[in-house]
């Protein structure tokens, strides 16, 4: 049986008097310190350095040292259509992929919640796309699956009047999103399925006895019960999908043109093709600020999803 964890305070083994001694407090803190210091050093220092370089002109392929250039990098970020475009594409890719994956995830979870012959086999088949290495998924889709001349998809769609479509040039963004959805639907399904299976069966029985149809039952009972699970899936899915890089780099290389260039790929290009550390840093700072705005809401959602009571 699965339940959402209650993030209530952990059981206090000893009740502490008001004045906890200094020594005791350090004893409590000590085990946390290595992980805390490590995380601060490795995850926060690069962002401080990013802030520093965002005010510098620095190209790593030239011997010239970094030099202060004020807000020039930021001016470029805010005036360049490339940044705006990649930001919009990042949002579109994430939102579409997360929503479609969640809808499919709910549908498949409902299917898998029923008893039928070979259910565990089907479940195993269904979760496999999520386990495939993303780089492998991207390359296999780009090649054996979507190849205009030899691809399996064109072959399967032939009866529907599809003939040798070059998916990656004509429907590049859609193709990348398709692979994202293919990989993340199983994740959503697993989370929703856990929610469905944690539903107390007696309330469902009671609804049946009361003469509620399957749709009314789903709307009135199942869906409210599933809500925290769905929110959790959307939240975690977004955290990972907004950073999608493998599919973009390996399927379309950001193209054709900039049709599939999202923020991670844009930053990758700034560092690897334009050698522009300063520009990449400024782009990064703006990205982080936007992320913090979104993350503030996300963290609140997290707290609610984990049934986190503000004490």
């Amino acid at each position: 049986m699965t339940v959402l964890e209650d993030l209530a305070p952990p059981p206090e083994v000893e009740v502490k008097p008001r004045g906890v001694s200094r020594r005791e407090r350090w004893q409590l803190r000590l085990p946390l310190l290595p992980a805390l210091i490590y995380t601060i050093v490795v995850t926060q220092i690069p962002f401080l350095v990013t802030l520093w370089y965002s005010f510098q002109s620095y190209f790593w392929n030239t011997p010239a040292p970094a030099s202060f250039n004020g807000l020039a990098n930021y001016k470029t970020v805010f005036t360049s259509p490339a940044f705006r475009g990649s930001l919009v594409r990042s949002v579109v890719m994430t939102v579409v992929a997360v929503i479609v994956a969640m809808i499919l995830g709910v549908l498949f979870a409902v299917l898998l919640d029923r008893k039928f012959l070979g259910r565990s086999v089907v479940r195993t088949l269904m979760i496999t796309p999520f386990l495939v290495m993303p780089a492998a998924a991207a390359l296999v889709w780009a090649g054996p699956m979507l190849d205009p001349q030899f691809g399996l998809l064109n072959y399967l769609l032939q009866p529907f009047g599809v003939h040798h479509v070059a998916w990656l040039s004509t429907h590049a963004l859609g193709s990348v999103i398709l692979v994202m959805i293919w990989q993340w639907t199983p994740f959503m399904m697993l989370i929703v399925l856990a929610g469905l299976q944690s539903q107390p069966s007696d309330t469902l029985e009671a609804a049946k006895v009361d003469g509620a149809g399957p749709f009314a039952t789903f709307r009135e009972l199942t869906f409210p019960h599933l809500r925290p699970y769905i929110e959790l899936g959307i939240l975690l899915g977004s955290i990972y999908l907004v950073n999608v890089f493998d599919a973009v780099r390996l399927m379309t290389n950001g193209g054709p043109g900039t049709a599939t260039t999202n923020l991670p790929f844009y930053l990758f290009q700034q560092v690897n093709n334009a050698f522009d550390i300063g520009g990449a840093a400024a782009t990064g700072v703006v990205t982080v600020i936007l992320t913090i705005i979104v993350a503030t809401f996300a963290l609140r959602m997290f707290a609610r999803v984990f049934q986190f009571e503000e004490a």
Partner: protein, 285 residues
């Protein structure tokens, strides 16, 4: 007496309809499952083809299978798989070494403001590492960590640590209070409490935590591609190297993709149950 409708007594026609309905749902589920699995199956099938049979129209479903592509993969994957194994294993061990005491200090004997600590860790997962990639490159360059396996170990540890702390914490909260109290009465110190009471109870949880960390580290491409070239190139980069500029390659690519994916697929299949808990960071049990 009130008659309670019992399923055994329902009319045969109705029963038949209900059963065929069930069969219908089952068939639909199978169709969906196979459709989702199809690209993986196609990858494995293509991997056994000779190169000339992989690029045909219509696609070939009957062919004489060959291991030639796999032989080619195994002759070239040496350094890549070694780097991947080192980066994955060492970072996972580090995550557990840092994560167990960290989770302990946030659950069993919680520090003051343990909530802030918990949310600090998760907030680092939301900061996109891609935003700092330029400076990370410069830092790695100046510390001589560029193209060394250590840069990946350090970053993968930081990448998985928040998830591990949340997850291990959720397992530690399940350790029965009585056991902790008994240990305390015995005069066990913190170290003995962790080693003799908590670790034995949560060891299955630690295994599933490690599995999740292994999956994410093994599959990681962005950092590896930006910060390594040859001395620390990992399996995802091996895949990229299996796509040549010209010539036939679909079968070879499929074999490389199969070899790179199979370890994680098998691990995930075996650990399906703990997968859900791990991916939800302990929220779903």
């Amino acid at each position: 007496m009130t008659a309670i409708p019992v399923r055994d007594h329902e009319p045969a026609a109705l029963r038949l309809r209900r059963m065929s309905g069930q069969v219908g749902w089952g068939v639909l589920a199978w169709v969906v499952g196979i459709a989702f699995f199809l690209p993986v199956l196609w990858m494995v099938i293509t991997a056994f083809k000779p190169e000339s049979a992989a690029q045909t129209w219509p696609p070939k479903f009957v062919f004489s299978p060959t291991l030639a592509q796999f032989r080619l993969v195994f002759s070239g994957w040496g350094p890549f798989v070694t780097h991947s194994l080192i980066a994955t294993t060492v970072s996972t061990v580090l995550v557990l070494l840092l994560g167990v005491p960290g989770a302990y200090a946030l659950s069993v004997h919680p520090v003051p403001h343990w909530r802030d600590g918990l949310f600090f860790f998760i907030s680092t997962k939301m900061l996109p590492i891609v935003a700092a990639i330029g400076p990370l490159y410069v830092i790695a360059l100046k510390t001589h960590l560029l193209d060394s396996i250590w840069v990946l170990i350090i970053l993968y540890t930081a990448m998985n640590l928040p998830l591990a702390i949340w997850l291990i914490r959720s397992f530690m909260l399940e350790v029965p209070k009585e056991m902790l109290e008994a240990a305390e009465l015995d005069g066990a110190g913190r170290i003995r409490e962790i080693g003799e009471v908590i670790l034995p109870v949560i060891s299955p949880g630690l295994v599933s935590t490690a599995l999740i960390c292994v999956i994410f580290a093994w599959n990681e491409l962005f950092l590896a591609l930006n910060l390594t070239v040859t001395n620390a190139a990992t399996m995802p980069m091996f895949l990229i190297s299996s796509v040549p500029q010209e010539g036939l390659y679909l079968a070879h690519l499929s074999a490389a993709a199969t070899v790179a994916s199979v370890p994680v697929i098998l691990v995930g299949w075996i650990a399906q149950r703990s997968l859900v808990r791990g991916l939800s960071m302990g929220a779903i049990k």
